[in-house]
Amino acid sequence: MSNKIIRTAELDPNFKFEVTAHESARDLNYCFACGSCSAGCPIHEVFPDYNPRKLAKMIKLGLRKEVLSSDYIWYCATCRTCEQRCPQKVSFFNVLNVLKNIAAKEGYAPTAWVEQTKQVMQTGIVFPIEETCVKKREQLSLPSLKGEGKKAKKLIETTGLDEIESRG
C-alpha cells in the first residue's frame, strides 16, 4: 500500500462500530496503539507486514475494504499472545475472528479456506489421509480413520459456512 494517500472522505467511519458491536471485539476502541500485540505476535515476527497494531488503526480509520480483503487477517496462528499482552484488555485475536466472519460473508474468504470447508463437508476430515498412513494404521491394528462426512455437512450447514464463497 506504499505511496498511496489515504483520503478519509473515501473511508467508512462506521467500520469501527461495526466491529466493536461484537461483544468479543468491543474493547478495540480502547486501543492506544502501544504495539504490545505486534511485538509479541509470532506471525509478525515471520511476516513483518502482518501487523496487529496497524490493522487496529486501519479499522478505526475506516479502511474497511482494505482490511476485509487483506490476506493478513487470515494469517493469525490463534496463539492469543496479543490478547495476553494487551494493557487495554483488547483481544486482537477476537477482533480477527470478527473480521474473518465479516470478510467471509462478503466473499473475501481465501480460496484455500473455502476449499477446505468443502472437503470437510464431503469427508468430515480437515486434511486428506494419505494411503501410506492408512496402511500403517492397519499394520498397527489401529481403528480406521473414517471421516463422518454427513454429520460434518449437517453441522456446517447449520452454521451457514456452506454458503461462504471464496474471493475466486
Binding site: 489515504i6 478519509t8 486501519m58
Partner: protein, 596 residues
Amino acid sequence: MSDRKEEKRIGVILCHCGKNIAGGVDIESLHKAVEKMEGVVFIAENRFSCSEEGQATIQQLIKENKLNRFIVAACDPTLHLATFQRCGEKAGLNPAFMDLIDIRKWTMHGSPVKVDSKQALENSKELIKRAVKRIRLKRIIPKIAVKTEPSVLIIGGGIAGVEASLELADKGYKVFLVERLPTIGGKMALLYKIFPTNDCAPCILAPKTAYANAHANITPLTNSEVMEVQGYIGNFRVKILQKPRYIEEKKCTGCGICIEKCPSKAPNEYAAGMGERKAIYIPYPQAIPLKAIIDAEHCLYFQKNVCRICEKVCPTGAIDFEQKPKMIELKVGAIIVATGFEEYDPSEKTEYGYGRYGNVITQFQLARLLDIDGPTKGKLLRPTDGKEPKSIAMIQCVGSRDESTNPYCSGVCCMYALKHIQIIKEMVLPTAEIYFCHIDVRAVGKGYEEYYRRTRGLGVVFLHGRPSEIIENPETRNLILKVEDPDIGERTELEADLVVLSCAMVPPHGTKQLSELLHIELDENGFYKEVHPKLQPVETSARGIYICGCAQWPKDIPHAIVQAKAAASCVDSELRKGEIKLPEFIVKTGKNKLRG
C-alpha cells in the same frame, strides 16, 4: 552584639557537597587561596554542610574559634541560607553575619553555568573574596519591628483569586479582590463542563464566587485595575482605578430590561467573538455581581449623544451616565497575583489558516459553542453555514511545544480536548466522526488516564501525527489536513467540516506592566517567576507578594486551587502576628552605604 570595635573573626567552610563541588574544582588550591584572604582566621572543609553532622561541625567551629562572622561556600542561598543562619544562631552568631555563597553552580552536573575546573577555581576564589570583603564591612543595626496591615490585595478574580480570597477572608483578613472585567469567575465560568468529572462549570464555581461576593471580609472591585504599588511587606500602599459601569450598583437588580431595549450591538467577548451583545449588558447569567454595565465604546449616547433609552426604561433609575473613574487607595499587608492566562492567538500559525478559514476555530470557542448558555445555545454548528459538522478534526499543541512560538507544554489542552470529545459524542452530536491529531496525549492527574480511556471507548480516531497544514475547499468550506501517522505508514488526507485548534495558554495581556508595578520577575515565557520551582512555587522575589493559578504557569483547576490555598497560607504565616521583624544591616563600601 558585634560592634565596630570588635575584632572581626571570619570563618569559612568549603563544602564538598559530596562530589557536586569537590568533583569539579580543586578544593585544595581553593583552600590555600582562601587562607590568605584578609580577615579569615579559620578555614575548614565539610562533606555535606547542610547535614546534621555538618551543621554540628559549624557550630563547634564557631564556638571553639570564637568566630563572629561566618561564610559557607556551598550552594544557592535561596535554598539554604536560612538553614545556616539558624545553625549559626544556635552557636551565638548573629544571622546577619552568616553568609552562604553559591560555588556549586560552577561545578554541578546540570547547572546552566557550569564551567571547567580551572575556571571553576577562579570563579569560586573571586566569589569567596567578595563575600569575605562584604562580611568584613557589614555593620548591623538592631532589627526593627513593623506593624502589618491585616488586609490583602488579590489581583485577578478567576478561580485561583477567588479561592485565595475565601481562604484569607475566612481567617479574618480584609480582602480586596481586584478584577479588570465586570465579573469575577475568570475563564472557568465559560468552560461549560469541567474535567475529569464533567460537572457543570457554573454550578461548581458559583458557590465560591457568590460566597466571595457576599463575604463580609471581601470587597470585590470589578472593572478595576491596579495603577500603583508602593511599600513593602506588611505595609503596601496601592492605588486602584475603578472604571465606571455607568450603573449605580446598589440600585441595579439585574432585571435586564435595559438590555432588551438597547438598540446598539457589539461583539460579545464572552462568546469568544462568535456572537453579539448589546452596548448595555450583563456578561452572562451567572455573572457576579449580577449588574449591568455600559460599554461606552458602543453606546449611542457616548458616541453620538443620542438614545438614553436604558435610562428611560430602567425601573429603579440605576443608569448614571455621569459616573467617573474612581481612584481607590488602600493599605494592605500582602498581595497575591492571580491574573491567570489567555488563549494563544493561533492566526500566527498561518499554516492552519485561523482567521482565514471560517471553519477553523479554537477549543475555547468550541467550549462556548457547546455551552447551553453560549451563542448557539449548545448546538454545535459550524460558523460558515450554521450546519452540523459531520467530521471534526482537533489539532493538539498549537502554539505549544513549538520552538517558533512557545516551547512549553500547556498541560491542560489534551484534557480539555478529550472533554469536548466526550461532550460531543455523548450529548451534542454523537454521529460526528472525530479525528484527534496529537504528538502524544498528556493525561497526568488523578482520574485523568481513566478519562482518556473513556474517551477512546467512544470510538474516536486518534492519529499520532501533527498536521503540517490545512487547505480549505473554497466551495464546501471543508478543510483538508495532511497528517502522517507512523502506525498507518501512509500519508493521510483528513477531510473535516470543522477544525478545532488546541491552543497554548499564554500570559494575559498587561502581565509585563503589572510585574513592573509590583517589582517582581517574569520567567522566560512571560509567566510570573517563583522563587524556586519545586520548593517555593508561590513565593516571588518580593517578600509579601505571592502568585497562584495560571499566572504562575498553565495548569488545571485542581492545581490552581492548591496554589491558591498555598499562597493564602504564606500570607497568613507572614501577617498573623500583626507585626514582623525586618532584618536590617548596612554594608559599608567606601562612601556608599547599602541598606538591606
